[in-house]
Symmetry: C2
Subunit: 374 residues, 2 copies
């Protein structure tokens, strides 16, 4: 079963797009937020809960699964879907981001990246071919090309060399990819440099990938610069293929990048925030560790229809978080993921109505008013 994407509508005022992903007999609408399931589990959630929150595609991390339990285990289990009991679409990253952010020291050569296993210190070597081989063993529905994740800021000189290598790596990965149902995306890099974003995007489009990711944003730059990087990249991408902005999940960034033509997003933030006692509300993020919630017997968000808000109070969740009870992180993960899916639904509804900008303004007015609670 191959994942299919079809573009349904492009907003006249903005560049926002409405689309449909078809997979395994089900249809999922884009723009979409994708929760992250690093170790073949969306932290604290069951597959039933992942679906209950409204999730479609979820992520799994190639780097983590390569090291634990090993891609051979997942492959022999029958692939990620069977291994983790999730029959929705699964996207894997290339492992590149983790190699560059978690594994130190590292040695980057034309061939690939040498680094040490963070768990046992073993020497490891990740190459474009190896990344594809692992992702094929994992059996995800969307794979990523192996790329260099460059720190921000970097010089134009370094970034140019890096983009050229990323393009050669993308080609090598594509060469070894089996002719199977897995999609393979190219990743547009190039930092803040418009000419490099253009070059990278155009070359990847020539290579005819199944979809395109925009990388190297959300690594320290300002929101305004992130939006520019997306603009520099996206204008060279074809209309009929998915556009994926990697690692972005802040509500306002979701709205702003949908406005620039992005279809799918992932971020660890809803589950990570949950583990730290933070919850999204339509009046801004709140921190349930704050004393003010000790006897607050109202839901996290009074208008929210999620399992958590329908059944539990802030006071109870605060207690669970304070007592280090994992059910607290679970309840907030359910709420936070549901919140982002609801936001995406509101975004889609307002694209349909041609009122995305009005929705953005209203969202900002309510959401940032409450930021003082945090």
């Amino acid at each position: 079963m191959k994942l299919q994407f079809s573009l349904k509508q492009t907003d006249e005022k903005t560049k926002a797009r409405l689309g449909e992903i078809t997979f395994n007999g089900k249809v999922y609408e884009t723009p979409m937020f994708m929760p992250v399931g690093t170790n073949a589990t969306v932290k604290t959630l069951s597959p039933e809960e992942i679906k209950m929150t409204g999730s479609g595609i979820i992520l799994a991390n190639t780097y983590h699964l390569w090291l634990k339990p090993g891609e051979d285990v997942v492959e022999e289990a029958g692939g990620l879907h069977k291994f983790m009991n999730y029959d929705g679409p699964i996207l894997t990253d290339s492992g590149g981001y983790q190699v560059f952010s978690l594994a130190k020291p590292k040695d980057i050569t034309e061939e690939g990246v040498k680094f040490k296993n963070q768990f046992n210190g073993d020497a490891l070597f990740l190459t474009p071919e190896k990344s594809i081989a692992i992702q094929q063993a994992l059996g995800s529905d969307i794979m990523m090309s192996f790329d260099e994740c460059v720190k921000w800021p970097s010089t134009h000189e370094y970034m140019e060399k890096s983009v050229e290598r990323t393009l050669r790596w993308a080609k090598r990965g594509k060469m070894v990819k089996k002719d199977n149902d897995q999609l393979l995306f190219g990743i547009v890099q190039g930092g803040e440099y418009p000419d490099l974003r253009e070059k990278c995007a155009k070359e990847l489009v020539k290579m005819d990938f199944d979809g395109f990711s925009i990388g190297g944003t959300s690594v320290g730059e300002t929101k305004e610069l992130m939006y520019k990087m997306v603009e520099y990249s996206i204008k060279y991408l074809p209309d009929d293929k998915l556009r994926y902005l990697m690692g972005v999940g802040d509500p306002i960034d979701l709205i702003e990048n949908v406005r620039r033509g992005v279809d799918i997003f992932d971020c660890v933030s809803p589950t990570r925030l949950a583990r730290h006692g933070h919850a999204y509300t339509w009046q801004g993020k709140i921190n349930l560790k704050n004393k003010q919630y000790k006897k607050d017997f109202t839901p996290v968000d009074p208008t929210c229809k999620c399992y958590t808000c329908q059944n539990y109070t802030k006071a109870y969740i605060k207690h669970l978080i304070n007592a280090d009870e994992t059910f607290g992180a679970r309840l907030l993960s359910i709420h936070n993921i549901y919140f982002l899916h609801t936001l995406m639904k509101n975004i889609r509804d307002n694209i349909k109505k041609g009122k995305l900008d009005e929705y953005r303004d209203e969202f900002i007015k309510n959401y940032y008013k409450g930021e003082k609670n945090e």
Copy 2:
């Protein structure tokens, strides 16, 4: 809604009993195992999952809830049932066990026990009256009298003084109990001394408690001595009231103590074992951290009908435990609690058939054969 108990049948060969607990329109059969929800949450489980495993009564810990979030929070929430979203019966302990085991140093007087808050060092004082007041604020369905949990072994001299004080404390607690729907149990102490167990049981029966607990077992003594302590205590207890053996959950201990006339049991073991990667099977306990399960794509127990065994493999759960993913502990908690409830159901079925001893022998044959896996 007051919890009701009725005795249905007593086994002719053993002293095993079949009974029914009625609560909130539902009927629960005894003998019963009760999972522990220390902080108003059965660790890693939702209320729906607690029920899905077949649970009836669950425990909550007075000591923990007194310190966090404070019984006033639970009371203002509308009591434990509303606070934690569980509409089944809830039993609270007296706080005594934790004061004597967790809080050190302590100072025991006739009035009560002085000790330090383990979280912030504050001086605290727990008395029989205070224990009842906290349990009434929590709104549990079955409360325990405040007792001294004496270390094993202790001298007859010390134990005699302790039993006499425990009896005075039981009386003081009963004196201040409101005339509400909460049941109050007396706790039979007396260590390994038959005369003290007899004295304690008889005095408590005179005081006409709603049910009786057997305490001071499972604090280091051998299984044989534990069974004797139960025998020394239980023969003085009336037929028509519940008998609760505190802190006992090992499968063979459940069978052996049902044979001696115990109705209800609690223990942290199914959830604690789960967090450490251990699972009950009908062929003995297994440790999923063991290498042999790395590529074992079969369920934890091939005959088990629980959610975990129906949907997940040993290899996946092993991976989750190894990766410190809480979903692993959740899956094993579901399985382990379901296993103990299934064991209790088998016990009840075999009491009905008059074949409890045969069942015990068969269980032991299968269960201890597999202990080598651990």
